[in-house]
Amino acid sequence: MLRFTLERLVGMVITMALVSVMVFIIMEIPPGDYADRYAFRKFSGTGVSVTEADVQAIREDLGLDKPMVLRYFDWIGNIVLRGDFGQAFAFETSVVKVIGDKVWLTLGILLTTLLLTYAISVPVGIYAAVKRGSSLDYGLTVFSYLGLALPNFLLALILLYFANKWFGADIGGLFSPQYQDAPWSLGKLWDLIKHLWLPAVVLAWSAVAYQIQTMRATMSDELNRLSVTAARARGVPEGKLLLKYPARLAINPIVSTIGFDVNRIFSELPIVAAVLGLTELGELLLKAYLDLDMYVAGAILLLLTFIIVFMNFVSDLLLAWLDPRIKLGA
C-alpha cells in the first residue's frame, strides 16, 4: 500500500507540474495584457494621450516585460516556495488576499455536495437493486430521469422560492447579513451550514440521479455472482452479506468517477452561484479574465485543477483499498 501511495503521489506531482505549464499558457493566450488595460483605465476620459512608451513603462513596472519562460518560473517558484500567488493587479493587492476565504467556501460547497451525493445515491442504489422490479424501484428510476432532465439553474430558482416561502430565511448567499464580515465563530459556522445545504442540494441533484442508476446497475450484476450465492450458502446474514460482498465491489465505478464529479460540480457551480448569489471562485475567475488579471485567473485555475487532481488521487487510494487486486497491477 505504501509503495502504491508513493507511486500515485509522484504521478500527482508530475500531473500538477504539467497542469501549471498549461495554466500559464492559457493565461498568456488572451491578446493584450494588464498593462494595456491599466493604461486604458487610468487615462481614458482624462484627455491625456498615452504613447506606446508609457504602456511599456507600466509593463516594466508590473514585471510583465520579462520573457514568458522566466515569468513562468518566477510565478511557480513563488507559489511552491512561499505560497505567494503573485499580484492581483485589478485589486492592487496580493492574489492570496483576493482569493482567501473563497477557496474555503468553494471547497465547503464541493465537499458538502459530494457527501450528499454519495450518502443518498449509494444506499438508495443498493436498495433499488435488491428490490429490483418493485414499484419503488420504478419510482426511483422515474425520479432519476427527472433529476437528469431538470436544468440546474431552474432547480436552484425553484428551491430558492420554496426555501424562502417555507423557512422564511434569506437563503441566498452563504451568510446572513450579520455574519457577512464577522470573524469566524461557531455562530458563523452554523450560519454557513444553514446556507450551504441549498447549493449542495442543487448541485447534488443530477449526480444523485445518475449515481443511483450506476449503483443499481453494478449492484444488480454483483448480486448475481456465484461468490454471493456461496456466501449465502455459508449462512452469512443477508444484511451483512449485501454490504460485505456485492456492495463493496459495486461501489467501484462510483469511487472511480469522484474526479469527474468534482469536475462537473466546478463547471456547474458558477451558474448556480450566480442564481443563488454566492461568492465563490467561478465568479471571480470570470471577472479576472475580463480584467486580464492573469495571476488571479492563474491561481484559480491552478487551485481548481489541483483539487480535481487531488480528488483523483483520493479515488485511486480508495479503489486500491476496496479491491486489493488493483495494487498488484500498479
Binding site: 461468490s227 456461496a230 449465502r232 450458502a233 455459508r234 449462512g235 465491489l249 486489493p324 487486486r325
Partner: protein, 335 residues
C-alpha cells in the same frame, strides 16, 4: 439424514410459468454419497439449491414438496417450511449443509483473503474467538492438502492456482463442520490429473469427517469413483436410480445407456464416440409423455409420446421410469 419427496420447482417468467423440476424424490444416508447425473438443464443444480433454499425470488416449491433433514443434534428440520430470513435457515446453511461449486475462483470473493472468508464462516457456526477460528481455518487448509497453510491463509484467491483454489473452496465449505456436503460439479473445471486428486481428497475427507455427500456431475466416470448411489436426471425427473455399480454395469433406461456409451474409452479408441443424439428440450417446451421420447433410440410410437411412464421399482432401491421396463401384470408402479 435427508429425504426429499415430490420436489417440484417452478419459476414465474415472462413467458409464463415453467416447472424445470417435477416430482423428484431421493434420500441421502449419513456418511454415504448420492450422485446426481444429467446434462446441463436437467435440473440437478436447482434441485440441490432448493435443499438450502437458495433459489431465486421468482422460484417456488410445489405444494406437496417435502424436504426433511435430521440435524446434527438429532432434531428434525422441515426445510420446505423454514422462513426465508430466519435464524434456523442461517444455521442450516453452512453449519448443517455445506456447498461447493464448479468455479472456485468465482465462488470466493476476490476482495477478501481466504482466511477472512473462512473465519467468517467458522465464527458464524461455532462459538469461538478470532484466534481460535484462525487455528481451525489453518488446520482445515492443512487437511485439504495446502502446503504452508499459516501463510496461505492470508492470501487472496487470485494468488492461488486453480487446483489450490478448489482445495481452499472445499476447506471453506467444510470449516463450519457441515454433516452434508453438496458438491456441484466440483471437478468439472479442473484438468484430469487434478480432478483425480480432488476426488481422492473428497473421498478421504468424507471418511474422516463422516459426512454425507450429494455429488452433482454430468460425468458417469466420476460418479463411478465416488458415489454409493446414483440418480440419473433428465428434464427435471429422475429416470433411473440405484446402487452405482448396478446402474453402471446394467443400465436400464435408454438415456443412461446413451450416457455410458458417450464416455470415451481406450477399448473403443478407433470408433467414433456415440453421443446421445439431439439436445435437451427447453423446460418451456416439455414433450408430452416420456420427456426423453424425442431423443430415444427405442421410442415406441403411440405409447412413449402419449403417457408419462411410471417409476418401476426393483430390488434395493433400483428403479427406472421407462415404458420398456414396465411390467403390466405386477402393478407395482408408483407414479
Amino acid at each position: 439424514m435427508l429425504t426429499v419427496e415430490n420436489l417440484s420447482i417452478s419459476f414465474a417468467t415472462d413467458e409464463g410459468r415453467i416447472t424445470p423440476v417435477q416430482g423428484v424424490s431421493f434420500s441421502v444416508e449419513a456418511g454415504k454419497t448420492l450422485g446426481l447425473v444429467g446434462e446441463s438443464g436437467s435440473g440437478k443444480s436447482i434441485s440441490t439449491k432448493a435443499l438450502m433454499r437458495l433459489l431465486p425470488g421468482n422460484a417456488s416449491l410445489g405444494d406437496d414438496t417435502k424436504i426433511t433433514y435430521w440435524a446434527k443434534d438429532g432434531k428434525e428440520i422441515e426445510i420446505h417450511k423454514i422462513k426465508p430470513k430466519s435464524r434456523a435457515l442461517r444455521d442450516l446453511r453452512g453449519g448443517e449443509i455445506g456447498m461447493i461449486f464448479q468455479e472456485p475462483m468465482a465462488s470466493f470473493s476476490p476482495v477478501y483473503t481466504i482466511g477472512n472468508q473462512m473465519m467468517e464462516a467458522i465464527r458464524l457456526h461455532r462459538k469461538c474467538g478470532k484466534r481460535e477460528a484462525r487455528e481451525i481455518a489453518v488446520e482445515m487448509l492443512n487437511k485439504v492438502g495446502i502446503s504452508s497453510p499459516a501463510e496461505r491463509i492470508d492470501q487472496y484467491p487470485h494468488e492461488m492456482s486453480g487446483g489450490m483454489r478448489q482445495r481452499a473452496m472445499i476447506a471453506l465449505a467444510l470449516s463450519a463442520g457441515p454433516a452434508l456436503l453438496i458438491a456441484d460439479e466440483p471437478t468439472t473445471a479442473l484438468d484430469v490429473t487434478i480432478q483425480a486428486q480432488v476426488l481422492d481428497l473428497m473421498r478421504d475427507l468424507q471418511r474422516d469427517l463422516g459426512m454425507a455427500m450429494i455429488f452433482i456431475t454430468h460425468d458417469l466416470g466420476v460418479i463411478a469413483q465416488i458415489a454409493d448411489e446414483v440418480a440419473v436426471m433428465y428434464l427435471g425427473t429422475i429416470v433411473e436410480r440405484g446402487a452405482t455399480r448396478d446402474v453402471i454395469r446394467n443400465p436400464k433406461h435408454p438415456y443412461t445407456q446413451g450416457l455410458l456409451k458417450a464416455i470415451p474409452s481406450l477399448d473403443t479408441l478407433h470408433d467414433r464416440l456415440s453421443p446421445v443424439p439431439g439436445d435437451i428440450p427447453s423446460p418451456t417446451e416439455r414433450p408430452t409423455g416420456c420427456p426423453f421420447h424425442t431423443r430415444c433410440p427405442d421410442f415406441i410410437n403411440g405409447i412413449c409420446d402419449v403417457n408419462e411412464p411410471p417409476e418401476v421399482g426393483g430390488d434395493a432401491g433400483r428403479s427406472v421410469r421407462c415404458w420398456l421396463h414396465k411390467e403390466p401384470e405386477s402393478g407395482r408402479s408408483a407414479a
